[in-house]
C-alpha cells in the first residue's frame, strides 16, 4: 500500500493548524471587541439607541368648534377639517426621481421640484406638500413608499363664510387663536395635547409591544356656543355694508345686546374679511373687532349717561328746566352748542337730549356740583367720575371674550389740573373721553334694566369634550349703577329724541306705536394724535334701544368719519340705528307692548 508522504502530510497539517490558530485569534479578538461594545460601552450605545428610537411627541387635541344661535337651534359657525402635510426622510429615499414620479399623479405639482427636495442632504425631514385632502393622504400612503409620510393638521373651516369673522377671529399656522373669540378663549378651545413617549419604528410609529411606553390621551377643546343670533348677525352685516357705502365712511361698528343679560346678539364691523383666507389680508386693521377694540370720543350720545347720573343723584328731575345762556365760559373757554339754532332761552331735560345741547350737559354737571348754581366744583367732577368709572365701568375693559379689548379713557378727576373744569364740561357731552361701542352699550343697558350692570358676553354656554355643558349664566358685575327708576325716567326722554328727529323730517325714524324706540345721536370731533381736533372730520355715533313693555335690545352704532355732509350723528349714525331697529321689529325679534 502506497502511503502518502508522511513528512508532507505532517507539514500540511502544521500549516492547517497555524491557519486555524489565526482564525482562533480573530474570533477571540471579536469576543473581546464584543465585550467592549456590549458590556463596557453598553450605556453609550443604549443611549444612542434610545435617542434614535424613543420619540416623544404630542398628540394634538381637536380644537373646539364654535356655534351660534339660529332660532331655537344651535348651528356651527367654525368647524375643523384635517388636512395633511407630506414629508420625506431623504435617508430612506434611494431614487428620488422614481418616488417623485409616483407621487405627482396624486398630489400634482412638479416632479423635478420634489426630487430636488428629496435630494436634500443632512436632514431627515423635508416638507414636500401641504394641505393634502384626506383622500390624497390615503392615496399617497397606499403607495407605501419608504421614507414618505404624512402628518395631519387641523384647519378651521367656516360654513357661514365671513359672517362674524371679526368676532370669531382665526387660527394661525401654529394653531394659536388670533383676535376675537379664538384669541380670548384660545386655551379653552385648544384643549390639552396628549403626550406620547414610545419606542418607535424608523417612521415614528410606536412599536406595539414595547415596555415603558407612556401615553396620555389628549383632551379635546371645548365647544363654545356663542350668544350671536345668526340671522340677526347676517342682516346687521348687510345693513352695515349698505350704510358704509351710503355714508362713505371709513368704517362702521355696531352691536345689538340684551340689556337684561349682557348677551351680545349681534356684533359686526365693516369692512371685514374672510377668515378662511386670512393670509391674504393686506391691512391687519380689519382683523380687529372695532366694536370692542376701538375706543373713540362718543360725542353727544354720552349725554344719556350724564343725564342718568344726574337723575340718580337727584339733582335734576326728568321735567327740570333751566335758562340756557347758549354758552358757558369755563376756564376762559366758551362752551357752546353745535346746534346754534335756539340761542339763549329756557330749556328742559328733554330738549337737552333732543337738541343735543352741550350747554345743557354742562348744566347737569353744574347741578351735580352744586344744585341750583352754575359752576363746576370738585364735588360734581368727583361725582361724575365716580358714576362713569365705578358705576358704568368706563375706562376699563369689560372683560368680554374678545382679543385686544380696549379700556377706553376717562380723564382722572385731578383737581390740580387748572383746566379740569373745562375738561369735565367736555366729558359731560362726550368729548375728551373715549369709549368703545360695547362700553357705551353695556353702561346704557344697566340704566335701562333698572341699575344692574351685567357682564357683557358672547358665550351662552361651553360644552366640554366629556359632554358636560356649562351654561354661562348672566353675571352681575355691578348691582346698583343707578336707581331702579332712572331707566323708566330716561326711556321717555330718549323716545322723545326719536320723535323729535322724526318730526324734523327724518322719516325713517318712524316706528310702530306698539314698540318703544329711543336713542341719542352723537357727532364727535375727532382728536388729532398730536392734540387738538380735526376740522370738518367727525365720527357719527348713536346709542338707542328697541322694546315693547321694556327695552329689549340696546343698539350702539359707531360710524367712523362718514364722508357725507350734515351732523354725523344724525346723518350717519342715526340711519344705521334706524335700519337695525326696523330689522329687529320686522323680524319679530321684539315683543310688542302688551297694552298699546
Amino acid at each position: 500500500m502506497a502511503l502518502p508522504n508522511t513528512n508532507n502530510a505532517s507539514a500540511t497539517i502544521k500549516r492547517v493548524r497555524f491557519w486555524y490558530g489565526l482564525l482562533t485569534i480573530v474570533l477571540v479578538v471579536f469576543g473581546i471587541r464584543l465585550f467592549f461594545l456590549q458590556v463596557v460601552d453598553y450605556s453609550h450605545y443604549h443611549a444612542a439607541a434610545l435617542s434614535d428610537q424613543l420619540k416623544q411627541y404630542q398628540i394634538p387635541a381637536d380644537r373646539g368648534i364654535i356655534e351660534a344661535q339660529d332660532g331655537s337651534n344651535v348651528v356651527p359657525i367654525v368647524l375643523n377639517q384635517k388636512l395633511y402635510t407630506l414629508y420625506a426622510d431623504p435617508v430612506y429615499i434611494k431614487h428620488p426621481n422614481q418616488v417623485a414620479a409616483k407621487i405627482v399623479p396624486v398630489i400634482g405639482g412638479n416632479a423635478n421640484q420634489y426630487a430636488g427636495l428629496m435630494h436634500t442632504k443632512n436632514t431627515r425631514y423635508v416638507i414636500l406638500a401641504k394641505k393634502l385632502s384626506p383622500s390624497q393622504n390615503q392615496r399617497v400612503l397606499a403607495l407605501r413608499i419608504p421614507g414618505i409620510g404624512t402628518q395631519g393638521q387641523d384647519y378651521r373651516v367656516y360654513p357661514e363664510g365671513s359672517l362674524a369673522s371679526q368676532v370669531l377671529g382665526f387660527v394661525d399656522g401654529n394653531g394659536k387663536g388670533q383676535y376675537g373669540i379664538e384669541q380670548a378663549l384660545n386655551k379653552q378651545l385648544s384643549g390639552k395635547a396628549g403626550q406620547v413617549k414610545a419606542v418607535t419604528d424608523v417612521n415614528g410609529v410606536p412599536l406595539p409591544a414595547t415596555k415603558g411606553n407612556i401615553e396620555q390621551p389628549p383632551v379635546n377643546g371645548d365647544t363654545v356656543v356663542t350668544t350671536l343670533d345668526l340671522p340677526m348677525q347676517a342682516q346687521m352685516e348687510k345693513i352695515l355694508q349698505q350704510e358704509y357705502k351710503k355714508t362713505k365712511s371709513q368704517g362702521i361698528s355696531a352691536l345689538i345686546m340684551d340689556p337684561d343679560t349682557g348677551q351680545i346678539k349681534a356684533m359686526a364691523n365693516y369692512p371685514t374679511y374672510d377668515p378662511s383666507n386670512y393670509q391674504n389680508v393686506t391691512n391687519p386693521a380689519v382683523f380687529q373687532n372695532g366694536a370692542v377694540t376701538d375706543a373713540i370720543e362718543p360725542g353727544s350720545s354720552m349725554k344719556t349717561l350724564t343725564t342718568s347720573a344726574a337723575l340718580d343723584q337727584g339733582v335734576i328731575q326728568p321735567n327740570s328746566s333751566f335758562y340756557d345762556p347758549a354758552h358757558w365760559v369755563i376756564n376762559g373757554f366758551n362752551i357752546t352748542d353745535i346746534a346754534q339754532d335756539g340761542g339763549a332761552r329756557e330749556q328742559n331735560i328733554a330738549s337737552i337730549l333732543a337738541l343735543s345741547l352741550n350747554t345743557g350737559a354742562t348744566w347737569m354737571l353744574m347741578q351735580m356740583s352744586d344744585p341750583g348754581h352754575t359752576q363746576i366744583t370738585a364735588k360734581g367732577i368727583n361725582a361724575w367720575h365716580n358714576y362713569m368709572v365705578n358705576h358704568f365701568r368706563l375706562g376699563q375693559p369689560t372683560g368680554i371674550e374678545q382679543g385686544y379689548e380696549s379700556a377706553g379713557y376717562v380723564p382722572p378727576a385731578n383737581m390740580n389740573d387748572p383746566s379740569i373744569d373745562l375738561r369735565y364740561a367736555n366729558t359731560s357731552f362726550g368729548q375728551g373721553v373715549q369709549l368703545t361701542a360695547l362700553q357705551l352699550g353695556a353702561a346704557l343697558s344697566s340704566v335701562l334694566n333698572g341699575g344692574t350692570y351685567y357682564q357683557p358676553t358672547l358665550v351662552s354656554e361651553t360644552i366640554k369634550a366629556s359632554g358636560q355643558t356649562q351654561v354661562n349664566k348672566p353675571k352681575v358685575v355691578e348691582k346698583h349703577t343707578v336707581g331702579p327708576n332712572i331707566g323708566k325716567e330716561l326711556i321717555p326722554l330718549m323716545q322723545n329724541v326719536v320723535t323729535t328727529y322724526h318730526n324734523e323730517g327724518f322719516s325713517y325714524m318712524s316706528f310702530p306705536s306698539n314698540y318703544i324706540v329711543g336713542g341719542k345721536t352723537g357727532t364727535a370731533q375727532v382728536a388729532k394724535p398730536t392734540g387738538g381736533y380735526y376740522k370738518n372730520t367727525y365720527n357719527g355715533t348713536y346709542v338707542g334701544f328697541v322694546g315693547g313693555d321694556k327695552p329689549q335690545y340696546v343698539i350702539v352704532v359707531f360710524n367712523i368719519k362718514p364722508g357725507i355732509p350734515g351732523y354725523a350723528g344724525s346723518y350717519a349714525g342715526q340711519p344705521v340705528f334706524s335700519d337695525l331697529a326696523h330689522m329687529l321689529i320686522d323680524n319679530s325679534y321684539v315683543t310688542p307692548k302688551t297694552s298699546p
Partner: protein, 441 residues
C-alpha cells in the same frame, strides 16, 4: 486539541494501527462526523429563528407580509437539505473529475447574470433569474474555483511542483486576474471576490506554496484593491465611514453606526428575541448582511459569545476532518470549505462590530438568502462525506505526537491510562469508534 488539562489525568494512551478496521483505498472508512451536521443545523436554526422574529419588522421598510421572509428561508433550507444529501453521498474523489464542467457552469452562470436585465433595486449584474427563482452566480463561481483549486494543488503536490513559478504560480495569477476583472470590475462585488481570493490564498498556503510568493501576490492584490476602492465613490465612502464611524452617521456611515448601536444596545443579555428595535427600519439589510447585529441586540454579549463558540466548534470539526484525511485533494477541498465559510464569517461579523468596513457579505447559515444557504450547506455535505475517512498516517502521527507529549510532559500517563477507552484490549469489540476517538472526537 489532543492534550487536555494535565491535572485531569485524562490522557489517551498511544495506540497501534488497527488494520482490521474497515478501510478504503487510502484510509479507513468509519462513521461520519454527525457533530458537523448538528452544528450546521443549529446555525441554520438560529438564523431561521432570528429571521422569523424580525419578519414583521422587515415589512416596515420592505412592505412585505409578515411571513414572507420565513417562508422563503424555510424553502431555502429545504433545498439545502436536499443538496446536502446529494453531496454527502458523492465520493469525494468524484469531484476531481467534475471541476471542468463546474468551471464551465460557473462561467455560463456569470455570463447569464451579466446578460440578464438587472433588478433596479440592486443594479449590479450578480443574479441569474428564471421565473420566480434567482441565484447569485458568484456562489457557484466560489464553489467551482474551490474544487478546481483543490484538484490543481493536489496534482502539483503529487508532481512535486507546488513551488514552481511557471506551473503553479502562473495559473493562480491568471485565475486571480479573471476574478478581478469579472467579479470586481464588472459585477462590482468586491466582498465576494475578497472571500474567493482569501480562500485561494489559504488553500495555496496549506498546500505548501511558499508564504513569500503568496505575500507577493497578496501585495499585487492589495494594489488592485486600492485601485478598485479609489475608482468607485461608494467604496470610498464606505472606507471613509469605516475609518471615521461617528462622523457620518446620517450619510454613508449610517449602516455602520446603526450596526454598532444594535450590537452595543444589546448589553450583557440582550433585549430578548421578540424585543429588538433596530430591525424596525433603523438598520438596513437587517435579515441579510446585518443579521449578526440584530442577533447581538436580541441576545446580548452572552448570546453573541455563544454564537461565536458554535461557529468555532463548527470550524474545529472541519479542521479536524481536514487533518486526518488520507489524501491531499480531500484535505485541500475541506480546507477550502473551512476557509470559504470562516472568512465570510470573519468579514461579516468584523463589519458589524466596526473592525472591518462593510462589504455586503452574508453570515453563513444565519443570514437570510437562498443561494448562500444552499451552497454553504452543500459544501458541508462534501465535508460530511469526507469525514468518513481517516488516514493511517494521520493516526500514526496522532499517536506519535501523543506519545511524545506524554514522554515529555507526563511520564506516568501511559501507565495511568483511561479504563473506558481500553476497548480493544478489553471485552468490548473494536469498532469504528476507536478510529473516531483517535481522530479526536
Amino acid at each position: 486539541m489532543w492534550s487536555s488539562h494535565p491535572a485531569s489525568g485524562r490522557r489517551r494512551p498511544p495506540r497501534r494501527i488497527r488494520p482490521e478496521a474497515a478501510e478504503s483505498k487510502l484510509g479507513r472508512r468509519h462513521r461520519p462526523d454527525y457533530w458537523l451536521m448538528i452544528w450546521c443545523a443549529v446555525l441554520l436554526a438560529i438564523g431561521l429563528m432570528v429571521v422569523y422574529a424580525i419578519s414583521p419588522a422587515l415589512g416596515i421598510t420592505n412592505h412585505t407580509q409578515g411571513s414572507y421572509y420565513v417562508t422563503k428561508q424555510l424553502l431555502a433550507i429545504g433545498l439545502s437539505v436536499a443538496a446536502f444529501f446529494v453531496t454527502a453521498r458523492i465520493p469525494l474523489q468524484w469531484w476531481q473529475r467534475a471541476y471542468k464542467p463546474l468551471l464551465v457552469a460557473a462561467g455560463l452562470a456569470t455570463l447569464l447574470a451579466l446578460a440578464l436585465p438587472v433588478n433596479p433595486a440592486y443594479p449590479a449584474h450578480r443574479w441569474v433569474r428564471f421565473g420566480g427563482l434567482s441565484f447569485e452566480s458568484v456562489e457557484l463561481v466560489q464553489f467551482a474555483v474551490m474544487v478546481w483549486l483543490a484538484t490543481f494543488l493536489a496534482r502539483r503536490v503529487r508532481q512535486g511542483t507546488i513551488k514552481s513559478m511557471k506551473l503553479t504560480l502562473k495559473p493562480l495569477v491568471i485565475a486571480l486576474l479573471i476574478i478581478g476583472v469579472v467579479i470586481v470590475g464588472i459585477q462590482s462585488d468586491l466582498g465576494s471576490a475578497g472571500v474567493i481570493v482569501a480562500m485561494m490564498a489559504t488553500m495555496a498556503y496549506v498546500a505548501g506554496l511558499p508564504l513569500k510568493k503568496i505575500m507577493l501576490i497578496g501585495g499585487a492584490v492589495l494594489i488592485m484593491l486600492v485601485l478598485a476602492i479609489a475608482a468607485t465613490p461608494y467604496r470610498r465612502a464606505r472606507l471613509e465611514s469605516y475609518l471615521h464611524p461617528q462622523s457620518n452617521c446620517h450619510g454613508s456611515g449610517y449602516q455602520a453606526c446603526q450596526a454598532l448601536i444594535a450590537v452595543g444596545s444589546g448589553g450583557m443579555v440582550g433585549l430578548g428575541l421578540g424585543s429588538g428595535v433596530q430591525a424596525y427600519g433603523y438598520l438596513p439589510e437587517a435579515a441579510n448582511d446585518s443579521i449578526f447585529a440584530i442577533y447581538a441586540e436580541k441576545f446580548g454579549f452572552v448570546g453573541a459569545i455563544i454564537l461565536l463558540a458554535i461557529f468555532m466548534a463548527f470550524f474545529t470539526r472541519l479542521k479536524n476532518i481536514a487533518e486526518r484525511l488520507p489524501d491531499d485533494f480531500s484535505r485541500f477541498l475541506v480546507i477550502g470549505i473551512l476557509a470559504w465559510l470562516s472568512i465570510q464569517t470573519f468579514i461579516n461579523i468584523g463589519a458589524m462590530i466596526g473592525l472591518l468596513p462593510l462589504k455586503g457579505i452574508t453570515l453563513p447559515f444565519i443570514s437570510y438568502g437562498g443561494t448562500s444557504v444552499v451552497f454553504s450547506v452543500a459544501a458541508i455535505g462534501l465535508a460530511f462525506q469526507a469525514s468518513q475517512y481517516t488516514a493511517f498516517t494521520a493516526n500514526r502521527l496522532v499517536d506519535e505526537e501523543a506519545a511524545a507529549g506524554d514522554a515529555v510532559r507526563r511520564p506516568g500517563a501511559a501507565r495511568a491510562g483511561r479504563a473506558g477507552i481500553r476497548g480493544n484490549n478489553g471485552s468490548r469489540r473494536p469498532d469504528w469508534r476507536d478510529n473516531a476517538r483517535r481522530a479526536g472526537y
